[in-house]
Each structure stands twice: as structure tokens, then as C-alpha cells.
């Protein structure tokens, strides 16, 4: 473990695995979580929404406490689709097939973070893959941010930009499949290897198309009115674009050594509302394009069929599209003895709840939900 140790809380809090609370460079035993549900008072009802309903992409249930129009609290039951993944005892390469399916939409982030943790555990030299891995993650971030903004347009009933962003999301999926032969990076990242042709990544038209949609949205008073001053969260315990939208300079690209980034601009906003999260996601698309272009990775990478064995424990923390993603692995003779993962959705779903409790009305619900880019898939996995 080059970058982490077990011990006292140090640095900022980045999330929780099944066993540990994760800080920027230490792991501690996980604290118990208090139940802080609001008491239902006379005249209030719980409005039940989900787990399966039109408008919800994944299965999740919300119980919205309301006296009528305003939202006082929301109890989130995300456990319906909990998957038990049998992975302990797998060889470290076989386990990758499961890891990349924890969150398929952010599979590059998960598979690279896992590979980095294994490489840390087994002291495998990986510097030559640093830049290519960054390119993959930034490309994934572009697609993910487009998707979040598409969700906001959908919630606002803005069908034209919504469809244009769907078109663009598909364009990016095709750029990914052109380079990696798969639209979600499955079977692309391996321990100490990548399979892909980076010369096929060109983002010029994506940038142009996105700029025109973004310009349109910024000039749409109705759209801006809907997303301003709602879903406010200014919480020092936050991650990713949601933290940066509240002026917290939190970014694993700045404070983790698992991947070494060159210079780039951190996008910060001050108000912590849905609009700020929209701005951060949009501006980060341009920044990710700049990062990808600055590396100029154009080579073909081929799978390396090296036999892996050894023992040790290792960690990795990277900035996935929604924030800090952390992996811990314990390896015994080439097999996984333990795996712990903290996804950004852990903090984001909690901050989504605080954001909603902060003077919102029913119609704000979807904007606020979409603006956090939460994935239940990565939140509800149990490793066995």
C-alpha cells in the first residue's frame, strides 16, 4: 500500500466501503450511521415513488415526506436491486470481468481503479499506462457529463436539446467503440495492460456540437429559471462535480497519486445549486477534451498476457465522472482475499437528500436527482 495506511482520519472524507471509512490517505473502521429521518407531522404524507416507474432509469424507491407542495424529507431505499457478486477467491484477472460490470456506464473508471489497486498490491510498474488511462477516464467523463445534462433537459421538458444530447452521447459511445471495440470499455482494461487504438479518438466535432447546445441552454431563460436556486448543497463532506459546484476544490485528479495528471483547470462554482452542478459538468467537458488533447496519446495498445501471482494489499483512488472512486484489494497468491470499494454515489446520494430537504418543491425533484449523476448499480453491490 504505497498511498494509504490504516490509522487516524486525515485529509478529507471521500466515502465508505463495506468495512472502512475512506479519507484521502487513510482508512479507518467505518462509523455507524445515525438515522436522521424527519418526524412525520400531522397533515403530512409520504409520497411513494419507485422502485420501478417511468422516469427512473434504475430501480430505486423514494418516500417523499410532504405537507403538499414542498418537500420536507426524502427517504431513499436503494436496496431493491442489490446484487450479490461472488468475487472473493477469484483470480485477480477473473475478478476484472465482474469489476467492470459494477457500474457499466463508468466502467473505465472502475476497471482502471481496480487495476491500479492490484498493481499497487503486487508492486507492478505501470507508469507507461498512466496517460492512456487518463485519456480513457476523461473520455468517459465527457459521455457521463453529456448524460447528466441530457437528464436535466429531459426533466425540463426541453425535447430538442435533450435529443441533441442523446445524439451526442451516442456519438461519444461510437468514438469509444471505434477505439476499444466496445461501447462501455468492457474487456479493455487489464492488470498492467490496455487493449485499444487511441489514434481513433477525435473529439473536434463533439466539442463543436456540445458548444452549440450549451450556448443554446445558457440563453434559455426558462431552462435557467428552472435549475437556479434549487437543490442547494454546500457540504464539506461531498465529492466530484457536486463538491466543486459548491466551491470545494475536491478532485482526486489533484490529491491522489494513483494516476498522475499534468496541469489542468479545476472548474469551481459557488452556489451549490442544480445550476452550478450543470455549469461544472458542462465546463468539465471542455476541460476533459483539453486534457485528452494535451496528452496526444495516439498509439495502439495490446493486451499483455502476463501471468499474475503474488500477495499483498493495495489501494487506488481516482476521479470518476461523479467523484472519488476508491478500491482496496488484498491478494493472496494471485487470488482476491478481500475487495473494498467506495463509489462516489455513496456521498452523492446523501447530498442529494440534503439538497432536497433544503426548501424545494415537488417539481424540483427530478432536476435535483439528475444533477447528481447517481448510479445505484455501484452503490448496491455486495462482494462475497
Amino acid at each position: 500500500m504505497k498511498y494509504y495506511e490504516f490509522g487516524d482520519k486525515t485529509g478529507r472524507y471521500v466515502g465508505r466501503t463495506e468495512k472502512y471509512d475512506v479519507y484521502t490517505s487513510t482508512l479507518t473502521e467505518a462509523d455507524k450511521e445515525e438515522n436522521d429521518n424527519e418526524e412525520k407531522t400531522q397533515g403530512e404524507i409520504y409520497f411513494n415513488y419507485g422502485p420501478s416507474a417511468g422516469g427512473l432509469r434504475e430501480s430505486v424507491n423514494f418516500q417523499i415526506l410532504t405537507p403538499g407542495e414542498s418537500i420536507r424529507d426524502v427517504i431513499i431505499n436503494s436496496g431493491f436491486k442489490n446484487r450479490n457478486i461472488s468475487i472473493i477467491g477469484d483470480s485477480i484477472s477473473d475478478a476484472m470481468l465482474k469489476v467492470e460490470r459494477i457500474n457499466g456506464f463508468h466502467s473505465a473508471s472502475h476497471s482502471i481503479a481496480y487495476a491500479l489497486a492490484v498493481e499497487d498490491a503486487l508492486n507492478i510498474e505501470n507508469d507507461d499506462l498512466n496517460d492512456a488511462r487518463i485519456v480513457e477516464i476523461e473520455l468517459e467523463r465527457i459521455r457521463s457529463n453529456i448524460d447528466v445534462i441530457k437528464g436535466l433537459c429531459e426533466s425540463a421538458g426541453f425535447a430538442v436539446p435533450e435529443k441533441q444530447l442523446l445524439l451526442l452521447r451516442e456519438e461519444v459511445a461510437r468514438i469509444i467503440s471505434g477505439a476499444f471495440a466496445h461501447r462501455y470499455y468492457f474487456s479493455v482494461n487489464r492488470i498492467n495492460s490496455i487493449e485499444g487504438d487511441f489514434s481513433r479518438i477525435s473529439l473536434r466535432t463533439v466539442e463543436k456540437q456540445f458548444r452549440s447546445i450549451y450556448e443554446g441552454l445558457l440563453s434559455s431563460k426558462i431552462f435557467l429559471d428552472r435549475i437556479q436556486e434549487n437543490g442547494i448543497v454546500l457540504n464539506p463532506i461531498s465529492t466530484g462535480p457536486a463538491a466543486r459546484a459548491g466551491n470545494f476544490r475536491y478532485d482526486a485528479r489533484l490529491d491522489s497519486k494513483s494516476l498522475i495528471y499534468g496541469k489542468f483547470n479545476t472548474v469551481l462554482e459557488k452556489d451549490g445549486d442544480t445550476f452550478s452542478r450543470f455549469l461544472v459538468r458542462a465546463e468539465e467537458i471542455f476541460e476533459s477534451i483539453n486534457i485528452i488533447e494535451s496528452y496526444g496519446v495516439k498509439r495502439i495498445f495490446r493486451k499483455n498476457k502476463m501471468e499474475l501471482s503474488g500477495s499483498g494489499d493495495g489501494t487506488a483512488r481516482i476521479e470518476s465522472p461523479a467523484g472519488d472512486l476508491f478500491y482496496y484489494v488484498k491478494i493472496k497468491e494471485g487470488k482476491l482475499a478481500d475487495i473494498q470499494m467506495s463509489p462516489p454515489s455513496y456521498l452523492n446520494i446523501r447530498n442529494f437528500r440534503s439538497a432536497l430537504r433544503n426548501k424545494n418543491i415537488f417539481t424540483d425533484f427530478f432536476f435535483v436527482w439528475e444533477s447528481f449523476g447517481i448510479w445505484i448499480s455501484e452503490l448496491e453491490v455486495k462482494f462475497q
Binding site: R57, S59, K98, Q164, E283
Partner: protein
């Protein structure tokens, strides 16, 4: 305001975009279903005695429904997106409109995203008279995605029961069909099997169209 801004924010005072005109200007972006191809997933060919992690290879035979297209065996991808099979034709009554209701039983999220891509300008499922229903009561076909999970078992059954007769059940992706690499399949039987991890939008549409044309 933030430190970095690629565009200035409109005050609303200037002329804002007319999205209707903007949409028309971009012209029709819809494509033929074979226009774009991807290698994984696509129909695999050849022989392999590799010890497949999902048992999709047995006695020299390839079982598409179990395959997660992991590229580890010696089978070769053809680029052909017909990764589906139709067990039962879609009833004639749905020729002019077919409403799909998706249920996420336990997915990684990628099948969900591919499903929503059916409604993108490139695929525009409405030209094939395929639409999305917001409730199972208005649905003609249930689209099941993801592995079996304890929490979703009852929800899935309730969605199925709530649909009016006749109803069609579509299994979308390796997880729903066989459990893939993650668990076990979400349902016992499907009328339409769409393999892939995840299946491509073209494969999903082609499967439904073929099932509708089948006598």
C-alpha cells in the same frame, strides 16, 4: 461565478434560441440499423475449447445467451449485430404500435443506457412504431434487464401481472437471460432473447422487428 468559463451566461435579455428552428436546422439524423457496427457484441464464429467463465462454450457449441463477449476465447467477432433469437412471435395486434416497459432487476447500468438509446435520433424507435410506456398497465412488452435480485423479484412479477393480455416478455442482455458473469437470470422464460453485454441498440430493434414480422 466560477474561475473558468468557456461561455458567458445569457441574461435572458438577448434573443434566446428557438429550439424548434434549431432542431429543424440540424436535419434528420436517423440511420439505417446496419449503418454502424461494433465488434463486441456481435455474432461470434469459429471454434474454441477455452474454459469460458460463463459456460457459453460447451462441447464446441457457442451459447449466445450466456456469452459476455469477454474476448478471452478464440471465437472471432463478425460485426454482425443479429445477436438475438425469437421464441415466440409478437401478436399481430401490436403491428401498429408496441409499447415497451423496462424493468431493471439488477443491472450494471449499461443495459439501461442502451435501452434509452433506442429513443435517440440515430435509432428513433418511433419510426418502427415502438414506444416507451410509463407504467406496465399501458405496456405491451416487458423488457427485463439485469440479474435476478431478491429485492426486485416481487416488483418484476407485479409489473408482469399488471400488464394487459396479450403480453410479450423480452430478455435484454446476458444478465437477464442467463445471469452472465454476475448471477442468475432474472426470469425463467422469454419470448425474445436479446444477447449481448450489453446488446447494441440496433440488435434490440432488429429483434423486436423480426419478432413482429414472424408469422
Amino acid at each position: 461565478m466560477g474561475e473558468l468559463r468557456h461561455l458567458d451566461i445569457g441574461t435572458g435579455g438577448e434573443v434566446s434560441v428557438n429550439w424548434f428552428i434549431n432542431g429543424i436546422r440540424k436535419r434528420i439524423q436517423t440511420e439505417k440499423l446496419d449503418q454502424y457496427r461494433v465488434m463486441y457484441p456481435s455474432v461470434l464464429e469459429g471454434m474454441s475449447d477455452y474454459n469460458c467463465p460463463t459456460e457459453a462454450l460447451r462441447d464446441g457449441k457457442w451459447d449466445m445467451d450466456k456469452c459476455i463477449f469477454c474476448r478471452q476465447c478464440d471465437l472471432d467477432p463478425t460485426g454482425n449485430q443479429d445477436t438475438y433469437s425469437v421464441e415466440k412471435a409478437i401478436p399481430n395486434i401490436f403491428k401498429k404500435s408496441l409499447y415497451l416497459y423496462p424493468v431493471d432487476s439488477g443491472t450494471c447500468g449499461a443495459c439501461n443506457v442502451e435501452f434509452t438509446t433506442l429513443f435517440s435520433p440515430q435509432y428513433d424507435s418511433s419510426r418502427f412504431k415502438i414506444f416507451m410506456a410509463n407504467t406496465p398497465r399501458h405496456a405491451d412488452a416487458l423488457v427485463v434487464m439485469g440479474v435476478h435480485t431478491e429485492g426486485m423479484e416481487r416488483v418484476l412479477q407485479e409489473a408482469y401481472d399488471a400488464m394487459p393480455e396479450p403480453k410479450v416478455v423480452i430478455g435484454l442482455g446476458a444478465c437477464a437471460l442467463s445471469g452472465g458473469i454476475i448471477g442468475r437470470g432474472a426470469m425463467e422464460k422469454y419470448d425474445i432473447h436479446i444477447a449481448g453485454c450489453p446488446p447494441t441498440p440496433a440488435a434490440i430493434l432488429k429483434a423486436i422487428i423480426e419478432a413482429r414480422d414472424k408469422k
